[in-house]
């Protein structure tokens, strides 16, 4: 699913547009999830929200 989001973003965003994505930092088993990456998208920043157990990923 994450790959679908990134693929969709890479093919519909114009140059220098941004994708802001909320994702959990760990799944139910408390295994830390890796940051999503995509060859056409550059990772700008992330912002952890500990009370929500989610991360805002830009």
């Amino acid at each position: 699913m994450m790959d679908d989001i990134l693929d969709f973003a890479a093919s519909t965003l114009v140059d220098n547009a941004r994708l802001a994505l909320w994702m959990p930092t760990a799944n139910d088993d408390d295994i830390k999830l890796p940051l999503p990456t995509h060859p056409c998208l550059e990772f700008l920043s992330s912002c952890k929200q500990p009370f929500n157990k989610c991360m805002l990923f830009l």
Partner: protein, 226 residues
């Protein structure tokens, strides 16, 4: 006091961070500034000269660490957090994102006028509202049309009307991002996502379980589905 300010209408603001002062104490502090020699009228609204007294406290101490005094030139956009508070919104759902987080998300994605923003997991439209607040044209979709349509006067359209942002509401549609009907062309200036958190564990998608294409049925030479 610089001569050009002497006769301007003025007003004093008091603000504090991590601490409080009662309004009588605030008043006394403001009156201590009588030596400024301001002779203009006092106007609580639209004064030409707005002076701000700001106190900055460390945690749990009764007196501020620093006090700033200066002329107010401009505000930040933080008042929006109050304006878009979920408690005041006409239509929310269990998955509605906190107003401050939605605004921050739209802000760091650089929502601004003459941009088109899209939220493929819109739910009750929190992100699209936040984008419209910053001036972007916003559209959204969701796999569940019910959350967009809502009920008679409680739906995404009503939310946009509540804040007077209907002009920036492009429209919403029902779709599954993994099988999106959106034309694959580069036209979006930003995408805001709050996907369902089962992203790693498999989730609902639209479409047939059985991927085989069924044969078209023809009625008198025309395809039956048309």
């Amino acid at each position: 006091m610089l001569p050009q300010y002497r006769n301007m209408s003025f007003y004093f603001f008091f603000d504090s961070f991590r601490g409080k002062k009662s309004s009588s104490v605030q008043r006394n502090m403001i009156e201590d500034f009588g030596w400024l020699g301001l002779e203009g009228p006092i106007c609580s609204k639209d004064a030409k000269l707005q002076l701000s007294l700001l106190e900055w406290y460390r945690l749990y101490v009764p007196e501020p660490d620093e006090v700033f005094f200066g002329r107010w030139i401009g505000s930040s956009g933080r008042h929006a957090i109050n304006k878009f508070d979920l408690k005041k919104r006409c239509y929310i759902s269990t998955t509605s994102m906190d107003a401050e987080l939605a605004l921050v998300t739209a802000n760091i994605a650089l929502a601004s006028p003459s941009k088109i923003f899209y939220d493929p997991f819109m739910g009750s439209g929190g992100f699209t509202i936040a984008c419209a607040h910053f001036g972007a044209v916003a559209m959204g979709s969701d796999i569940d049309g019910r959350s967009i349509r809502g009920q008679k006067n409680q739906n995404v359209i009503a939310n946009f009307e509540q804040y007077g942002l209907s002009g920036l509401h492009l429209d919403d549609f029902v779709a599954d991002l993994t099988n999106t009907p959106v034309r694959i062309a580069r036209f979006l200036d930003g995408i805001l996502c709050d996907p369902p958190y089962g992203v790693r564990e498999g989730l609902r998608v639209l479409g047939k379980k059985n991927d085989k294409v069924r044969e078209r049925v023809y009625n008198e030479g025309k395809p039956a589905h048309l």
